[in-house]
C-alpha cells in the first residue's frame, strides 16, 4: 500500500507541473492587465505605471515570469550580503528576491502586498468551517435519502427526491444564495443575511455561538452534495438490493430494516467512498461562489476578488492549493477504496 501511495505521489508531480504551466499560460493570455486595473486613474502618470509594471515583473516575457514564480529569481539579482534584498535597490518596495513556489514562496499579492500563500492560509479556517459543515450535511442528508429512495423505488418518495436532485444540481448556487438571503433574511428576518457572525472587534466567538450564520451558506453549499450523494447512494443501494446475499437474507426472514441498513447500506457505501476525495475539492470550489454571496471571509472570496483584479500571485496560489487538494483527493479516494473493500489490493 505504501509503495502504491508513493508511486501515485511521484506520478502526481508531472501532473502538478502540467497544471501550473497550463494555468499560468491561460492566466497570462487572458485579457486584462493588473497594472491597468491598479492605475485606472487619470491622475496617475505613464511613468508611474511603467515603474509599477517593472516592479511587479509583468513586463517580463512569459517564460521568465513562470520561472520566477516556480523557482524564484535570486539567479537574476546580486545580493552579496545575502539579506534577501537586492544590492541594487529595485525601483520600489514591491520588488524583493523571490524563491519560487518550489521553496514555498508564492510571491506577494499585487494588490494586498502580502505573501499570497499567507493570505490563503489566513482564510482557510473560515473556508473549512463552511466546507466541513456542508460535507457533513451532504452526507447525513444525502445518504439516507438515497437509501430510502432505493428501498421505496418507484414510490412517491423516490420520484420526489429524483426531482429534488435534478433541481438541486441545476439551480445555480449564486441564485439560490440570493433568494435565501431575500426570503429568510430580508422578508422573514429570521436568519442573518451574511458574514460569519463574529463580533465587531476582537477574536471570533466559537462556532456553536453563531450557528445561525452558518445555516444559509451551508444549505447552498450542500445542496449539490445532497443531490449527488442521494443519487449515487440510490444507484449503489439498488445494486445491493438485487444481490444474492440480500435475497438470501430476506429469504432467511431477517427484518427489512436489518437487511437494508445493516447489510445493504453498509456494502452500498463502498463505492461512495471513492467520491469523498473529489467532493472535498468540489466543496472548496463551490465555496468560492457561496463565500462571495454570504460575505463569508474564506479563501473563496479572496480568489474571486484576485481574479477580477488580475492578482496573479493569489490566483496561482489558489490554483496550486486547488491542484494539490484535487490530486490528494483522488489518491485518498483510491486508497479508501482499498481500505473499505477487501477485494481491492494494490
Amino acid at each position: 500500500m505504501i509503495k502504491y501511495i508513493l508511486r501515485r505521489l511521484i506520478q502526481a508531480v508531472p501532473t502538478f507541473l502540467g497544471i501550473t504551466i497550463l494555468s499560468y499560460m491561460i492566466m497570462w493570455a487572458a485579457p486584462g492587465d493588473p497594472v491597468s486595473l491598479m492605475t485606472f486613474d487619470p491622475t496617475i502618470k505613464q511613468e508611474t505605471k511603467e515603474r509599477l509594471a517593472n516592479a511587479l515583473g509583468v513586463n517580463d516575457p512569459l517564460p521568465i515570469q513562470y520561472l520566477r514564480w516556480l523557482i524564484g529569481d535570486e539567479w537574476k539579482v546580486i545580493d552579496e550580503d545575502a539579506d534577501g534584498v537586492p544590492d541594487e535597490r529595485p525601483a520600489d518596495g514591491l520588488t524583493r528576491v523571490r524563491y519560487g513556489i518550489l521553496r514555498g514562496d508564492f510571491g506577494d499579492s499585487f494588490y494586498l502586498r502580502q505573501d499570497a500563500l499567507e493570505l490563503i492560509v489566513q482564510r482557510i479556517p473560515a473556508t473549512l468551517e463552511l466546507s466541513v459543515t456542508a460535507l457533513i450535511v451532504s452526507l447525513t442528508v444525502g445518504l439516507p435519502i438515497g437509501i430510502l429512495a432505493a428501498v421505496w423505488r418507484g414510490g412517491w418518495f423516490d420520484q420526489f427526491t429524483r426531482v429534488g436532485a435534478v433541481v438541486g444540481n441545476a439551480v445555480p448556487g449564486f441564485w439560490m444564495g440570493i433568494m435565501l438571503i431575500l426570503f429568510f433574511g430580508a422578508i422573514l428576518g429570521v436568519l442573518p443575511m451574511g458574514d460569519r457572525g463574529c463580533p465587531t472587534r476582537g477574536e471570533c466567538t466559537p462556532l456553536y455561538m453563531r450557528l445561525d450564520h452558518l445555516i444559509l451558506p451551508t444549505v447552498v453549499l450542500s445542496l449539490g452534495g445532497i443531490a449527488g450523494y442521494s443519487r449515487y447512494m440510490r444507484a449503489s443501494m439498488l445494486e445491493q438490493i438485487n444481490s444474492d446475499y440480500i435475497r438470501t437474507a430476506r429469504a432467511k426472514g431477517l427484518p427489512n430494516r436489518l437487511v437494508w441498513f445493516k447489510h445493504g447500506a453498509k456494502n452500498a457505501l463502498i463505492p461512495i467512498a471513492t467520491f469523498l476525495g473529489p467532493t472535498l475539492t468540489g466543496l472548496i470550489g463551490g465555496a468560492v461562489i457561496t463565500e462571495t454571496i454570504f460575505s463569508w471571509p474564506g479563501m473563496g472570496r479572496l480568489l474571486v476578488s484576485a481574479l477580477t483584479r488580475r492578482d496573479y500571485p493569489i490566483v496561482m496560489a489558489g490554483v496550486v492549493v486547488g491542484s494539490i487538494l484535487t490530486i490528494l483527493g483522488y489518491i485518498i479516494s483510491d486508497v479508501l477504496y482499498a481500505v473499505v473493500d477487501p477485494r481491492i489490493r494494490f
Binding site: G32, F40, Q46, T48, D92, G93, R113
Partner: protein, 582 residues
C-alpha cells in the same frame, strides 16, 4: 465677606465646569456603533503613503490629517477645515511658489505637536521612489532623477509651521497635487522605518499607534470588517467630543445585499444604488439624501483606426497619423447618433427620472458649467439627413437592414454597412440598459449596434488598447473640481495601452484652450470659466463622447441617527457628532 464672595464665585465656576465635564464625559463615545458597508475588497494597506484605493483611503482618512481640506459645503479647498492642517496659503507673483501656513494648535493623540516635518516625511518617502505609492506622479523627477511626469520640483519646510511648494511652471491644476499626500507622525514613522522607505511596503497592514482623527485603534478581520474606536483626544470635533463609540466598515458582497442589510437595520448608513432609490426613499424608518453624482455616464467613440492603434504623439512630440475610424471618424455620424438617442427617455426609464442630462464633459455642480449650452435635440429626421450628408444611405428601402456607405463616405469603403460593436462592463445594470436602449434607438435610423457586456478587466484592456468601436463607461470627476481635460482629449494622453484619451480626439483649438486655462495668471476663476466653457462647447459639438447623464446619488441612514447632515459628496463630514438611537 469679600473673600467669601470670591470663594463663592470660584465655587460656582468650578461646579459649572465639573457639571460640563460630567456632561461631556457622559456623551463622549456614547453615541453607539456606526456600521457602514464595504462592497469593495479589503483595504490593501493602513499606510496612508502607499494607499491607492477608496477602501484604504476611507480608513486612513480617519487616522491622518490632510494638508489642505475641502469645505464640505462647497467641495473647494478652504483654510481651517477640521481634520486638516492648513491655516492659509498664497502663491508668489510668478505663480510657481506656493507657501502654506499650518495651524499651530494641533497634536497627534500622543501629545506630539503636528508640524511641517510630518508632511515632509510623506513627501520625502514618496519622492525617494522607493515606495509603491502611485503619488510619485505629483513630482517632476524623483530623487534618482527619474522623470515622474508631475509639475512639482521641490517641497521644503523652512520652519515647523510653513511648507513651501515649488512648481516647474504655473499650472492651476497642480494645486490639487499638493493635497495628494497626508501628514504622518514623523516621530513614529522615523523610528519605525528610518530612511528605508521601501520597508513601508513590508508590512502594509501594520496598525498605527499614533493618529489624528475621530477614530483610532484599527481592528481588522480580513473579508469581514475593519473596526475603529472613538478617539477622545481628537480636538477638531463639531460638538467638542467624539460621539460614536465605534465605526465599523463591514464587508458586504454587493449592493443588493447591502441595501437589504440596511433595511434590516444591520447597517447604519450607506449609499443606495439607482435601482433601489425609489423604494428606499419610500421606506419608513430611514432618512435619505439625494443629489447629483459628481461624475457622468457616456458613450465614447473611437475616432482612430481600431485595427491599428497608435499613440497621439511620437517621442519628439509630433502628431502620428492614427488613421480614421470608418464610421466615427466623421463628426456628422457622431452628431447623427446624438440626434437619434433619447437621453431624457433613458433617464426616465433607467433612473426613474433620478438624473440630469449633460451635453459636455461638465456637470451642473461644476463652476465651469454653462447652463446655456444646448445639446443635440432628439430628431430622427435631422439624424438621417446628417447620415445622408456623410454618405450613408438606405440602399434597399428596408429599415430593418443597416444603412450602407456610398462613395461619399469619408472613411468607409462604399458598400460598408453602418454597423458597430458597443461594449460596456457586465454587472453594471444601468450601463447594460443604456446599451440596450442605444441599440434599439439607433436601429430606428438604420444603424446596427452589436451590444456586448463584458468583464471589467477585459473592457479596460480593450479601452486602453484602443481596439474598440464604441464603449459605455463613466467618469468620476473627483474633488476639488479640476476643469483641465487634456488627459481625456489631448494627444499627450492618447497612449495605447495606458492613456485615457482613448478616443484619439485631437483638436488644436481645444488643446490651446486647455493650455490657456491652466496657465492663466493668478488662476483667475472668471477668466478660467470663460475658457473652459468655450472648450466644453467645442466638445459638445465635436462629440468625442456622446454625453449622457449624471445620475442621482442617494445616501441613507437609519432614522435614529442623530446629527446626520450630509452634503453632496461629503456624507461623513461631521461623523464625530453622530449618535445612534435604537
Amino acid at each position: 465677606m469679600k473673600h467669601f464672595s470670591k470663594l463663592l464665585l470660584v465655587g460656582i465656576v468650578l461646579a459649572l465646569l465639573s457639571l460640563t465635564a460630567v456632561s461631556v464625559l457622559a456623551q463622549a463615545g456614547e453615541g453607539g456603533v456606526l456600521v457602514t458597508d464595504n462592497i469593495g475588497d479589503d483595504p490593501a494597506t493602513f499606510n496612508p503613503i502607499t494607499c491607492n484605493d477608496t477602501v484604504c483611503s476611507l480608513v486612513t482618512g480617519w487616522l491622518y490629517p490632510g494638508i489642505i481640506g475641502l469645505d464640505p459645503a462647497t467641495g473647494s479647498p478652504a483654510p481651517m477645515v477640521p481634520g486638516n492642517v492648513a491655516e492659509s496659503w498664497a502663491y508668489d507673483d510668478s505663480g510657481t511658489v506656493l507657501t502654506i501656513n499650518l495651524r499651530q494648535d494641533l497634536a497627534w493623540n500622543d501629545g506630539t505637536p503636528i508640524t511641517s516635518a510630518d508632511y515632509m516625511w510623506s513627501i520625502t518617502a514618496v519622492k525617494s521612489g522607493l515606495t509603491s505609492s502611485p503619488r510619485t506622479s505629483m513630482f517632476m523627477t524623483l530623487d534618482d532623477g527619474t522623470p515622474a511626469g508631475g509639475n512639482i520640483t521641490n517641497i521644503e519646510a523652512p520652519d515647523d509651521y510653513t511648507v513651501v511648494v515649488t512648481f516647474d511652471h504655473p499650472d492651476c491644476s497642480s494645486f490639487n497635487d499638493v493635497n495628494d499626500l497626508p501628514l504622518v507622525p514623523a516621530h513614529v514613522f522615523s523610528e519605525l522605518y528610518g530612511t528605508d522607505y521601501a520597508s513601508l511596503d513590508a508590512d502594509p497592514l501594520a496598525i498605527p499607534t499614533v493618529s489624528f482623527g475621530p477614530f483610532k485603534d484599527i481592528d481588522f478581520s480580513p473579508n469581514e470588517r475593519v473596526s475603529l474606536i472613538a478617539d477622545p483626544a481628537y480636538p477638531d470635533t463639531v460638538l467638542g467630543y467624539v460621539s460614536p463609540s465605534e465605526w465599523v466598515y463591514k464587508s458586504v458582497p454587493d449592493t443588493t445585499v447591502s441595501v437589504e442589510q440596511f433595511l434590516a437595520g444591520e447597517i447604519t448608513y450607506t449609499g443606495i444604488p439607482a435601482e433601489r432609490q425609489a423604494d428606499v426613499a419610500a421606506t419608513e424608518g430611514v432618512k435619505t439624501f439625494e443629489f447629483s453624482q459628481n461624475g457622468f455616464q457616456y458613450m465614447g467613440f473611437n475616432l482612430a483606426d481600431p485595427t491599428n492603434p497608435q499613440n497621439g504623439l511620437d517621442e519628439e512630440g509630433n502628431a502620428i497619423d492614427q488613421g480614421h475610424h470608418p464610421i466615427f471618424g466623421d463628426v456628422r455620424v457622431r452628431q447623427a447618433i446624438a440626434h437619434a438617442v433619447d437621453v431624457d427617455a433613458m433617464i426616465q426609464g433607467i433612473l426613474d427620472g433620478r438624473g440630469t442630462r449633460i451635453n459636455t464633459h461638465t456637470i451642473p455642480t461644476s463652476w465651469t458649467y454653462d447652463p446655456n449650452l444646448e445639446g443635440f435635440a432628439l430628431d430622427q429626421e435631422a439624424a438621417l439627413a446628417l447620415l445622408a450628408e456623410a454618405g450613408w444611405v438606405d440602399d434597399d428601402n428596408d429599415v430593418s437592414t443597416p444603412l450602407v456607405a456610398t462613395e461619399d463616405a469619408l472613411y468607409a469603403e462604399a458598400g460598408t454597412p453602418l454597423e458597430f460593436t458597443l461594449q460596456t462592463n457586465a454587472g453594471n445594470l444601468a450601463r447594460e440598459r443604456i446599451g440596450q436602449t442605444i441599440q434599439s434607438q439607433l436601429a430606428e435610423i438604420g444603424i446596427k449596434v452589436n451590444f456586448e457586456a463584458i468583464e471589467f478587466g477585459t473592457l479596460v484592456d480593450i479601452l486602453t488598447g484602443q481596439t474598440f468601436d464604441a464603449i459605455i463607461i463613466g467618469w468620476s470627476l473627483g474633488l476639488p473640481v479640476d476643469p483641465d481635460l487634456a488627459w481625456a482629449y489631448g494627444p499627450e494622453g492618447d497612449l495605447v495601452g495606458a492613456g485615457f484619451a482613448f478616443t484619439s480626439y485631437n483638436n488644436p483649438v481645444f488643446n490651446e484652450l486647455m493650455e490657456q486655462g491652466k496657465t492663466i495668471p493668478g488662476c483667475d476663476i472668471e477668466a478660467r470659466t470663460a475658457i473652459y466653457q468655450e472648450a466644453n462647447a467645442i466638445l459638445a459639438n465635436d462629440l468625442p463622447y456622446l454625453y449622457l447623464y449624471a445620475a442621482n446619488v442617494m445616501y441613507a441612514a437609519q432614522e435614529g441617527v442623530e446629527n446626520w447632515d450630509p452634503y453632496p459628496n461629503f456624507q461623513q463630514w461631521n461623523i464625530d457628532a453622530w449618535s445612534v438611537n435604537d
